[in-house]
Every structure is written in structure tokens, then in C-alpha cells.
Amino acid sequence: MSLIELRGLTHIYSQGTPFEKTAIDGISLTIDAGQTVALIGHTGSGKSTLISHLNALLKPSGGTVLLDGQDIFASKASIRAARFRVGVVFQYPEYQLFEETVFADIAYGPKNLKLDEPEIDRRVREAAAFVGLDAGVFDRSPLELSGGQKRRAAIAGVLAMEPDVLVLDEPTAGLDPAGREDLLARLFRWHEIRGATILLVTHDMSIANRCERLVVMAEGKIVLDGAPEEVFAHDGQLLSIGLDLPAPAHIAKLLRERGLDLPAGIYTLDRLAEAILALRGKGAGPC
């Protein structure tokens, strides 16, 4: 059963003015419950506009958004329900922090859900633990935290609402490599434990290839959709729309061009190493 279904979704900004711009153009997409999906595209390809429709922040100019088969724009109640079921973490979420303490900030979402105190307390502690935020910072002002901690606190604020679908727009932008790895690992752990659907918006292929499914957007349309090995097989098309291949896939491509007989569908470092070792075992090639 598909959890989210987009039908012919179109969004035109500033319709009827000289600044009119079609950001997304007739997109149809279904996402199943429990999937991890990466939405990839160049800057301005319409990724961010697309995700703003998933929790009813933007009203489509055309088409519908279905959540569990129900139109989320049907009523005020359904819009509100969608906000709570689909948790969206926007780019640079640390700028949304506002409360006096980190605890209160993470509790803002659950409070809007009108939960009781013990439940809010449990959710805040759980969410903070998930993103790796120490309970020692709960009483500090969110503005005193370091950049990485702020990011974690902001993401925890959405996790604490325990949404069925977690949408993250470039969650690791501006983090150092270690912080990036740690945060991604924690997000995927959250997916494993809670069985939640994750939609990751990124243009970093090394992040995208950890998802089960990749959806590639260009100029407001979906151009590729499938498992990583299927999508990365279209390397020419990816490069032509200004996207990169993950480094291992790139190396495999270059090695193949040099005459090494590597199998298709290599996009992780482990696979690349295995394939090269397998070649070596056969005694073929110079390596």
C-alpha cells in the first residue's frame, strides 16, 4: 500500500505576474511505507518545492497529494493531520530554534500535538538520544550550542513528533565529515527501529546511495526513479543534468574505460573493493 501518492503535481510560483515560474511540472510519484528514498536534483530542480507539498505547506497549482489514499488538502483537519504525520526538516533547520532552553524547543512540536507532560518528556528525551544530544544541554539556551549541536536539536524537534514519514532537506549541509556520518547513521537507525519512511533530499550522491530508492529530478520533472544500481547505470544522463556519480561508481567507470572487466552496479566502496579483489583472484588485469 502506498503511503504517499502524488498525482500530476504542479506548482507555479507568482502565477499571473512577470515573475511566474513553474517549479514542479506534473509530477506523479508513489512512496511505500517504510521505504528510504533519496530525492536528488540540481539546485533549482524543484526538490524543496516538492517536499513543501508533502505536509501541506504549499498548495499545489494543479494535481493532488494523497496520504494513505486521502487528499491532504480536503479540510483544515486533514491539513493539520498531514503536518503531524509527515515531519519535515528544512534546510539549515537550526534557524528555527527559538525557545529559552533546548528541552523546551524540542518539546514545541509535541506540545502542539497536545500531548500530556510525561509523554512530552519521554519523547523529548528519546528524540534527543536518537540524534546524539546529551541530556546535559537540555537546560541551556539553544543559541549557545555549537553549529552541529544546533542542527541536532532542530532535527530532534521534528523527531519528537514521531512522524510516520520523515522528510529531510539536506540535513548534513555544512557539517564536518565525521558529524555528517554520525548524523546519517543515527537517522537510518531511527528508520530501522521505528520503521518510518524516510525521504532524504540531497545532491550529494554519497548520501543518496544509502537509500533503497533514488528519485532524480531535473527542471521540475522526475527523470530517473529506481534502485541505486539502476539509477547509477544512467551515468551519462546524470552527468548531463549536472549531477555527480558517487566516487566508487566514478572510479569503476574510469577503470572500465581503461579495460578492466568490472561488473555493472558498483556504487559503494565495499563493492568496488570486492570487485577489484575478485579480478585479482582471477589473475586478470595489472592490479
Binding site: P18, N55, L57, Y95, Q96, E99, G157
Partner: protein, 268 residues
Amino acid sequence: MLKDITLGQYFPGDTPVHRLDPRTKLLLTVAYIAAIFMVGSWGGYALVFAALVCVCAVAHIRPKALLKGLKPLVFIIVFTAILNLFFTRGDDVLFQWKALRVTYTGLERAVSMVLRILLLVSGTFLLTYTTSPLAITDGLEKLLSPLKKLHVPVYELSLMMCIALRFIPTLIEETDRIMSAQKARGADLETGTLPERAKALLPLLIPLFISAFRRADELALAMECRCYNGGEGRTRMKQLHMSWRDGVAFLLGAALIAGILLLRRLGI
């Protein structure tokens, strides 16, 4: 959507109106405002309206864009109309219901007040629609430069205005972003009693202020890094030049005022 607010927005174009010197447009706008207050007859309003339509047509500004800009003023316009309609004294009663009394003078005054506001605001919108904020500040600085002799900090004022204008769209965008983020966390900005709604704005205002201060800090640093040290001795890349077009514009402006005064004298 906040992005659709058109107040103070510039529509780029290459029409005769766009090409006018900003000083001309500023002076003519001031003259236009004065002219509206000189109108003393219905014919005068028709003339001003006709002038407005002509400028709109020449500048390729769609009437829709103007109307959209007037939308936020609906409350003020209705308020003015009601005040004038019911609280003008006069003997020529048109209609009376208990304490409410509508006089012919009141009706006339209400209509002319509404017309005045509409023409005033849409005329000034034309200035911002056809002149980039940078050009407006440039023109304003030039026009005010005689005041420097009186130790009025004209450079600083125009710089402040320039920065303020420059940051309106940025702040609107920022508000939009923060609003989206808080709505995604279940913030309810639309329903509730007035105190509840005011409280619901806090999650919006606090991050907005923080980011505005951060931006101001960054801007000051960037200006210092480029050795900005105030107005004296600065030269400009784009010099303002008056041309024959500006002469024609001034003549047309004078004709409009003369027309208004003539119609007033004739009582049409």
C-alpha cells in the same frame, strides 16, 4: 504566500517610464501627491485617473499588479469611507436610521476620500514598480544633497534606506522559511483568540530577530572589510543624467496640475 506581497516591489522593464531619471520620477510623484490634494471637482479625479492609466499603459504595468498592491489597504479604505459617511455634519440628509445619519455632503466626502487614497497609493506604487530601490535612493540622495550644508547626514540616511530596501525581500523570504519550519512542527498561526495568536507569533519573531541581527553583523563586517568609510569623497559607477525625456515628463506633469486647477475653477 508571503512571497506574493508586492509592496515596494520593482518590476524590471525597459519602457520610457523605466528609463526616466529617478529624480524626475521622485519629484513628479511628490507633485502628483500634491495635485491629488488640489483636486476640487469630479472632473479633476477623472483627469488624474486618466493620467494614471496612461502611465500604467506606457510602463506596461498590469492593472492587476496595482490592484494586488491595494489589497492590504482595504481596511483603511473602508474605515475612512465609514467615518466620512456617518460623521460628516450637514443639513442635506439622505437617509436616517436612529443615530445613524447619512448626508449628501458626507457621501460626497466619503467617495472623494476613497478616490484620493486609491489614486495616491497606486500613483506611488507606480514609482516603486518602475524604479529599482537602488535608483530611488540614488535619486533621493541627489535631491537631498543641498541639505548637507545644514549638517543633515544625507549619505548615511540614503545608505540606511538602501540597506532597508535591500533587506525587505530577504526578510520576507526568511519569514517565509521560518514560518514553514514552525508550521511543520505544528504551529497554528491562523486560528485561536487574539492573545493566543500573538503568542503563536513568538516562534516566528524570535528566530527572525536573531537572523536579522546576524545579517546586520555580517553586513557591517563585509563593509568594513572593503574599507567602507562613509560618504565623503565616494564616486559612483552610475552617474545620473537628465535627458529630453525628463523634460517631456515635467511638461506633462505641469499640464496635469494646470488641468486640475482649470477643472476646479470651472467646477466640472
